[in-house]
Amino acid sequence: MSAHANLERRRQAIYGWLLLSPAAVLLTVFAFYPSIATLWSSLFSRNTRRNPTEFVGTENYADLFADPTFWLVVKNNLFYAGITIPVSIFIALSMALWANSKISARGFVRTAYFTPTVLPMIAAANLWLFFYTPGLGVLDQIGSVFGLPSVNWLGQPETALWAIIIVTIWKEAGFFMIFYLAALQTIPEDLKEAADIEGTSRWTYTRRIVLPLLMPTTLFIAVNAMINSVKLIDHLFILTKGGPSDASKLILYYIWEMAFAFFDAPHAAAITVLVIAVLGIVAAVQFLYLDRRTHYQ
């Protein structure tokens, strides 16, 4: 009896490991190994013709912390994340609630909102170039009707980052809306009816019933938005290239520049390690903290 139970338990264990192994192999090859390798190479100096690579410990990190551009980029990215995450979530939620209610042309509204998501980021950026271009752009055309002076939205440090932020929100909100819409469809109709009979206002129903039931989705979206705030930089290449004077430069763009424009791989590796560490910590906090306050159906 116990021998049989043991055998069965071992079989279950083997079965479990077999199921895990494809994912484990892929993650090791494409995620764990590169991370470790990056960490490793961030500890060595840059290989130039005069100075061959040598172990420098945390010197690359010290260089970064002493570099004002690094801190400017970090500040830019925090600001970028601080605006794009809450605003795109808020817009996505509002649009989903609206598109889910009994409006006419519901299908059209959904499609219209979703379109930005389908566009590649590069195409979206080109589209927005058409809005932002000084003199010729749509924004300036509209402004000139009201007698406003031409503004170089992408070309001045005060507005460049905002211009980038708006494109990102425009791009992301529709995507997140789809998740909210899907979650809204899983809320049974009769909850609303039960609330209606009790005389619950629309706002109270949304706040007390709908939002809590959407919490798992919000959590998922928040983590994704956070990752995107670091990951999504395609539009920088088209719109500002991080300028003017680094005003719209984000971390990933800085890493790219470091590695492939200045060919300074060790410093690029060091920033990468920092980014991975911060993202990992934030995601863990988000999941651990919010998970406990979230109701899963």
Partner: protein, 339 residues
């Protein structure tokens, strides 16, 4: 029971895209009564209830609650509570929060809320479960939370849409009694939708039998059983249902009528003394008695009850007899003729 109607429906109709929903629904429901809307699936019971609740608006007709025209009023203005078939509990809220949700919405003070909650949970036997989520309760407990939520609202009118259909048979029996007792103790008016005639017949003072969006008969359970309005009612009510015979096979009834007779009014008599000779097609042991199904030309659903266990082999021939006063006569259109 007082007689002033708390609910009046006048020629109410609701159609879905011009198709049949419910039609010509007229009903007076006295205060303090227990009314069951009974009928096969899809006959419009839920639609009628939802029209009353204000979850749907009628295309025609008038709805009065407490003498006030509420035909187009919002659900919350109708002073009623409702128990949904799915219970419609808020999954992220605890039992207590679910029950007092409506009180909170109506800004009832906290102390009063607590008292009402305690009483409602006491009545429904849910004390000690305050902090559980609906997902952590059994089906029967969830059902009682739904009941508690309706009780706590303190409305005089309570609508229930198949509240027991998700429970197993045994539980259903006991909850049935609980609901009936609750209705009596609180003195509220209950309108209860069900497709289960046992539920309707055992709980209700008045049964409203519906078919294809139309009311077939309104009456006491005895009315429906003993004086069915038409052949549909005759065949729907009772287990086994009433047998229907073509009048041409009996003497003295003409040729185009339908005769109904219940199994308990049929006697088995010795060969040669009966009014009809039938072939046995099945025997079903029910416990206290045995139900014997019979075949005869021009009949449908003919059967007879024998006390105790007394199976009769298939194919045997039996003579049966019955008294004319136990026959129900329906005209060619299926409407009742005799009084």
């Amino acid at each position: 029971m007082t007689t002033a109607p708390i609910v009046e429906l006048k020629d109410v109709a609701k159609r879905w895209n011009g198709q049949l929903g419910v039609e010509e629904i007229s009903l007076d429901i006295p205060e303090g009564s227990f009314t069951a809307l009974l009928g096969p699936s899809g006959c419009g019971k839920s639609t009628t209830l939802r029209l009353l609740a204000g979850l749907e608006l009628p295309d025609e007709g008038k709805i009065l609650i407490d003498g006030k025209d509420v035909t187009t009023s919002a659900a919350s203005d109708r002073n009623l509570s409702m128990v949904f078939q799915s219970y419609a509990l808020f999954p992220h809220l605890s039992v207590a929060e679910n029950v007092v949700f409506g009180l909170k919405v109506r800004r009832v003070p906290k102390k009063e809320r607590q008292e009402k909650l305690h009483r409602a949970l006491e009545i429904t036997g849910l004390l000690g479960y305050e902090d559980r989520k609906p997902g952590e309760l059994s089906g029967g407990q969830r059902q009682r939370v739904a009941l508690a939520r309706a009780i706590v609202a303190g409305q005089r009118l309570c609508l229930m849409d198949e509240p027991l259909s998700n429970l197993d048979a045994k539980l259903r029996n006991s909850v049935r009694k609980d609901i009936k007792k609750l209705q009596r103790d609180l003195g509220i008016t209950v309108i209860y939708v069900t497709h289960d005639q046992t539920e309707a017949m055992s709980m209700a003072d008045t049964v409203v039998l519906m078919k294809d969006g139309h009311i077939q008969q309104v009456g006491t359970p005895d009315d429906l059983y003993s004086r069915p309005n038409n052949t549909f009612v005759a065949e729907f009510v009772g287990a086994p249902p009433m047998a229907l015979l073509k009048s041409s096979i009996l003497d003295g009834f003409g040729g185009d009528k339908t005769i109904g007779i219940r199994a308990e009014n049929i006697q088995i008599v010795p060969k040669g003394e009966g009014r009809m000779r039938c072939t046995v097609n099945e025997s079903e042991f029910l416990g206290a008695e045995t139900l014997i199904g019979l075949d005869h030309e021009g009949t449908a659903g003919l059967c007879v009850l024998k006390p105790g266990l007394s199976m009769v082999a298939e194919g045997n021939e039996i003579d049966i007899s019955f008294n004319d006063e136990n026959l129900h006569v329906f005209d060619a259109a299926g409407q009742r003729l005799t009084g």
